[in-house]
């Protein structure tokens, strides 16, 4: 009897799920940061000078996406 897990390379499925799932959160997070930054600039154009601070938070959020990306090198069958 051939097990399904033997026939399919589960590591590839795992990597795909990891990338897909791991990128959702940071994607939403960076979208929120960018959207709120633009909203702030729209309300008050003086707020445009806070782009540097917005980018700092983008980098903080981005770390979790990169951790998901790095994890695909650890997963093997």
């Amino acid at each position: 009897m051939i097990l399904l897990a033997d026939a399919i390379d589960t590591a590839i499925i795992g990597k795909g799920l990891m990338i897909g799932g791991g990128f959702i959160g940071p994607g939403i997070g960076i979208g929120l940061i960018g959207g709120n930054y633009l909203q702030a600039v729209g309300r008050n154009p003086e707020a445009a000078k806070f782009l540097g601070q917005a980018l700092v938070f983008v980098a903080i959020v981005e770390l979790f996406a990169l951790l998901a990306f790095a994890s695909i090198f650890i997963v093997t069958k």
Binding site: G52, L55, V56, A59, I60, E62, L63, L66, L67, F69, A70, F73
Partner: protein
Amino acid sequence: MNLIATKFIAATGPVTHIAPSALFYFHGLTITNSMLYGWICIVFMIILFVWAAHRMTIKPKKGIIQIIEVIADFIINTIETAFEDKQRARKYVPYFVTLFFFLLFNNWSGLLPFANDAFTAHGAPLLRPLTGDLNATLAAAIVTMIYVYVSSIRESGSFRKYLSHFFVGSPLNPMYLVLGLLEMLSDFTRVISLSLRLFLNIAIGEIIVAVFAYLGHAIAPLSAVAFYLIDMFDGALQAFIFTILTIMYLAIVVNHVTAHDEHEDLTDGATPETMGVFPQNGEVA
């Protein structure tokens, strides 16, 4: 031309490197390719900045010196705005400006055509960027955080006063004790998050360039050039973020010190200053 071709066109699958590989051994020490390139960058930096420092004038010059001046001025301004006291901020300028330039040069070093797979020794690339190596970024984060802790303790006055910053009230109150200990624990994760952020951004940036060069096949330079430019932006951004985050970690403690009286006992459990808790009976804190 050949150098650029080996950078962009990967023949058999995307070639990726995560770990540094040993080049040679020196008295029991392993010299890796990232260390070698790091030293080359450091020597280049020293020569460039000594050369630039001898040519600095009050009236700005054109060219490379002006660019260095503008970047250094930008970092100095960032440090001075982070601290409430400019005189206090001036003390920390040399370390953080050096840190920024060190990271910037090492981040960009991996984008040069002779880096990575252009030259190989024993099947491993001869030169890899220093910040694309977790050992190097971890060392940078540890050294920087030790500097931040030592400076924080010196600014606070004593070790006991430094520890008292973690507690909003008296540590004898079990809730404040747990909150303070959690705060201390999250303080130690900064080393890990700083080093991982820098390493992953640089290493994965190179992997993505390699992957898109592989996908592009015959038109590899065209498909990879967009990610190459993103890498350039990202290298500068990560150097800035490493610097600004460590400045903020230091500024939080320093600004906390200046916000209080010198002789005020912060461990006094009577009035917590933060968390929206206000004293009862309408008395003014």
